[in-house]
């Protein structure tokens, strides 16, 4: 039975290579990255064998190890992985619970993250091979580390698959993901403000001193404590690690038993009275598509998660720049155009979000122009108040009202250029997006390298096309204010030009390639 389960997992992995070249390319990149990471970490750990300061190495290992463990626990929860070895898939085979639970846990040891972890934790045995006692206990802990991390990932993956089985819950998980990011940002800011060159060692030691008593860090701290001579502390931490592993195992067994007899959860439907946006727009296909998009922006987690991220990006950027010592005066001008950049870019793969539902546009012979314009309406409706309020706030913080037309011009132009280019790219280069109803953070399994290419090109093309406007603005700010007159003029010409050309070209492509877009959607559903 064990051999069958391991064989099944290996076969599943091998089959991921039997896909299109781009997907295999992405997969190979992932594997190479994992190997590179493993080699790097192993070399570092081997080198650490010859460093005399045992406590420093222990502290660093505990902090990094705890992060690794946290990754194994949290990533499946946030990203909602597609679990190929979900216990429920074996429910009809009548396998005894103990066998099923242990076999699935063993099968989870096969996989890139697990392999990298195994290699790295075995390398820690070398790091701690100071004498026979520390080598032995390091070996025990390496086994504990691998089992704990892999089992934790199994448990959270199953919990995610189990609890997030309803549509609404999956959407909610997107909200949790944002919450985690928001909560992490002050921690990152805090960590970024530490003077690492001076206080780094002390800070890590402080973190280690409490982290090593938690299940996250205990298993990493045991050999280090032993090497430092604190065998009593080491044994207590070993007990913590073993106890946690035991609890995890019991939890996993219980979870498998529970999942086998529990069907999918049923969601409760909510009623929406009336036609919503549809009754608030004029007649015609374009308006109807706009109403549909507006409805989706409000209801579909994939849209509002991206929308919530937009104000977060400039915050992180400004903090990073301020810490780096950039002048605060000029940084005030950045957030608004950056938000407009992301807002316009948001719809660069809008068509793929519809998945195969796009058949309705084809079957009804909807014109490409109507499709394109309808899709940009939500962006424009959000963009207008954003620029109106944002430009006033920006100029107020900047402190000189001379730049107001330039700020409005640049932001509006960036938004319009983004919309124009997005109108083209979503019709010309759609790439697989997370499907309707999936978590906003889940990525399609077969996301090839082409996606990254489209994303970066469509993003940087906006910046390239706005370059003349940015140049006028920079000349106005740093050379002579007369240049500022050029900013809104250039913004108007380029912005409107790219928007009109983009919508027209995108619509033309949609009309010609609609069946191919349909075929793309069917392939990726």
């Amino acid at each position: 039975m064990v051999a069958q389960f391991l064989g099944l997992k290996l076969r599943l992995m091998a089959n991921t290579f039997r896909r299109s070249p781009w997907q295999v390319f992405g997969l190979v990149i992932g594997l190479l990255y994992g190997m590179f990471l493993a080699v790097f970490v192993v070399l570092a750990l081997l080198g650490a064998r010859f460093v005399g300061d045992v406590e420093l190495i222990r502290n660093i290992l505990v902090v990094l190890g705890a992060l690794v463990m946290l990754g194994f626990v949290l990533l499946p929860l946030i990203f909602g992985v597609d679990d190929t070895l979900d216990p429920r898939r074996f429910s009809l085979y009548g396998i005894p619970n103990l066998h099923l639970a242990s076999n699935l846990a063993l099968a989870a040891l096969i996989g890139t993250p697990s392999l990298v972890l195994t290699v790295c934790s075995l390398a820690t045995v070398v790091t701690w091979s100071r004498n026979f006692g520390t080598t032995l206990i390091a070996l025990v802990c390496a086994v504990i580390v691998v089992l704990t991390c892999v089992l934790s990932a199994r448990v959270t993956t199953s919990i995610a698959a189990f609890l997030l089985s309803t549509r609404r819950a999956r959407e909610f998980s997107g909200a949790i993901g944002i919450l985690v990011l928001v909560m992490l940002s002050p921690v990152i800011v805090l960590l970024a403000t530490v003077n690492w060159a001076r206080d780094g060692v002390t800070v890590i030691a402080n973190i280690e001193s409490w982290l090593s008593w938690t299940p996250l860090g205990a298993m990493w701290a045991v050999p280090g404590d032993a090497a430092a001579g604190a065998w009593g502390v080491a044994l207590i931490k070993l007990l913590i690690a073993l106890g946690f592993l035991g609890l995890l195992w019991l939890g996993w067994m219980a979870l498998v038993a529970k999942m086998l007899v529990t069907p999918h959860r049923e969601a409760q439907a909510k009623a929406y009275a009336g036609l919503g946006w549809f009754s608030r727009v004029p007649a015609g296909a374009t308006a109807a598509i706009a109403a549909r998009c507006l409805t989706y922006w409000g209801r579909d987690a994939r849209y509002w998660v991206s929308l919530v991220m937009i104000p977060l990006v400039p915050v992180v950027m400004v903090v990073a720049l301020l810490i780096a010592g950039a002048p605060g005066h000029y940084i005030a001008l950045l957030p608004l155009p950056v938000m407009c950049l992301f807002l316009g870019w948001m719809i660069h793969n809008d068509l793929a979000y519809d998945s195969t539902a796009i058949w309705l546009h084809l079957a009804s012979g909807t014109h490409g122009i109507a499709d394109r314009i309808g899709r940009i309406v939500p962006v424009v409706l959000i963009g207008i108040p954003l620029i109106a309020v944002g430009s006033i706030v920006t100029v107020y913080v900047y402190g000189d009202w001379v730049v107001l037309p330039s700020v409005i011009g640049l932001s509006a132009a960036v938004l319009l250029i983004g919309i124009g280019l997005s109108s083209i790219s979503s019709a010309v280069f759609p790439y697989p997006a997370s499907k309707p109803g999936d978590s906003a953070f889940s990525q399609p399994q077969n996301l090839g390298a082409s996606a990254a290419l489209v994303q970066s090109i469509s993003f940087f093309a906006v910046i390239v096309l706005s370059a003349p406007i940015i140049v006028f603005m920079a000349l106005g700010l740093f050379v002579s204010p007369e240049w500022l007159i050029g900013t809104p003029i250039a913004a108007g010409i380029i912005g409107v030009g790219v928007l009109v050309a983009g919508v027209y070209l995108g619509g033309w492509v949609f009309d010609r390639r609609a069946p191919e877009l349909m075929a793309f959607a069917t392939r990726n559903d």
């Binding site: 439907a269 549809f278 109807a288 549909r292 309705l360 084809l362 079957a363 012979g365 191919e516 349909m518």
Partner: protein, 260 residues
């Protein structure tokens, strides 16, 4: 009630339709003529190319060869003109399911060029005809499979097309609703509309349709009026015979000696 096959005008004409997927030929020279006012059934085993054929008829999938004309308009040369007279129910494609039932009907009608008041009237009529009144304010994503099928069927009819192309319209629809839908379709056909549907239900096709085509491995093996095709037997017998006959259930004796 069967239309006069000689005099009725040809509404849908398919000739030499071909579609390859890589090495595999899904549709291999399908040719069919569907007359006005006819209730046309397309049957075939799984993977016979029914859905592929219907997708090419409705303009969703570009054919590798052959022509499709609807009311003498070539679907692939003048798509927007041809599509105006076709109502489509695809199989296994998503709907805009974040809309409520009412919104989806409104959206479908508006994309088809109907004005707001007409759409609202018709949506109400369709909802009561299909028994969806209580579900109109819920998201289509929360519908059961049968309800989803019914709302899609309603959306396919909302612009009163001359030709309805329905792929597996009765799959997972309960018998009562199916009877309602059939009655609606029969009245539509009596008034001069044309229905082309695919189904696995031989009884249903034999009972409801006046003409039928049997497609196996991308080829039309038999077509004509139901009586012609079934040639005295039942449609199911004829279908099984054409589809390669029943597989003899030999060597399965172990199934009759139970393991515990």
């Amino acid at each position: 009630m069967a239309p006069n096959r000689e005099t009725a005008k040809v509404v849908l004409s398919i000739s030499g339709l071909v579609k390859h997927f890589g090495e595999n030929t899904a549709v291999d020279g399908v040719a069919l003529d569907v007359h006005e006012g006819s209730f046309y059934g397309i049957v075939g085993p799984n993977g016979a190319g029914k859905t592929t054929t219907l997708s090419m008829v409705t303009g969703l999938l570009r054919p590798d060869g052959g022509t499709v004309t609807v009311h003498d308009v070539n679907v692939w040369k003048h798509p927007s003109k041809a599509k105006r007279s076709i109502g489509v129910l695809p199989d296994r494609l998503r709907l805009f399911d974040r809309l409520t039932g009412a919104q989806l009907l409104y959206y479908s009608g508006t994309l088809r060029g109907l004005d707001a008041d007409t759409v609202r009237d018709r949506a109400g009529d369709l909802a009561s005809a299909f028994g969806l009144e209580d579900a109109l304010n819920r998201l289509v994503a929360d519908y059961s499979a049968g309800m989803t099928k019914k709302i899609a069927l309603a959306a396919a009819m909302i612009h009163s097309p001359r030709l309805l192309v329905l792929d597996e319209p009765f799959e997972s629809v309960d018998p009562v609703s199916a009877a309602n839908v059939i009655e609606i379709l029969q009245k539509y056909v009596a008034a001069g509309g044309t229905v082309v549907l695919s189904s696995h239900g031989m009884d249903l096709i034999q009972r409801v349709c006046d003409s039928v085509a049997i497609i196996v491995q991308g080829k039309v093996l038999a077509s004509g009026s139901v009586d012609e095709v079934r040639a005295g037997g039942t449609l199911e017998d004829r279908f099984v015979e054409l589809a390669g006959g029943r597989k003899a259930a030999e060597g399965m004796e172990w199934l009759h000696s139970f393991s515990d």
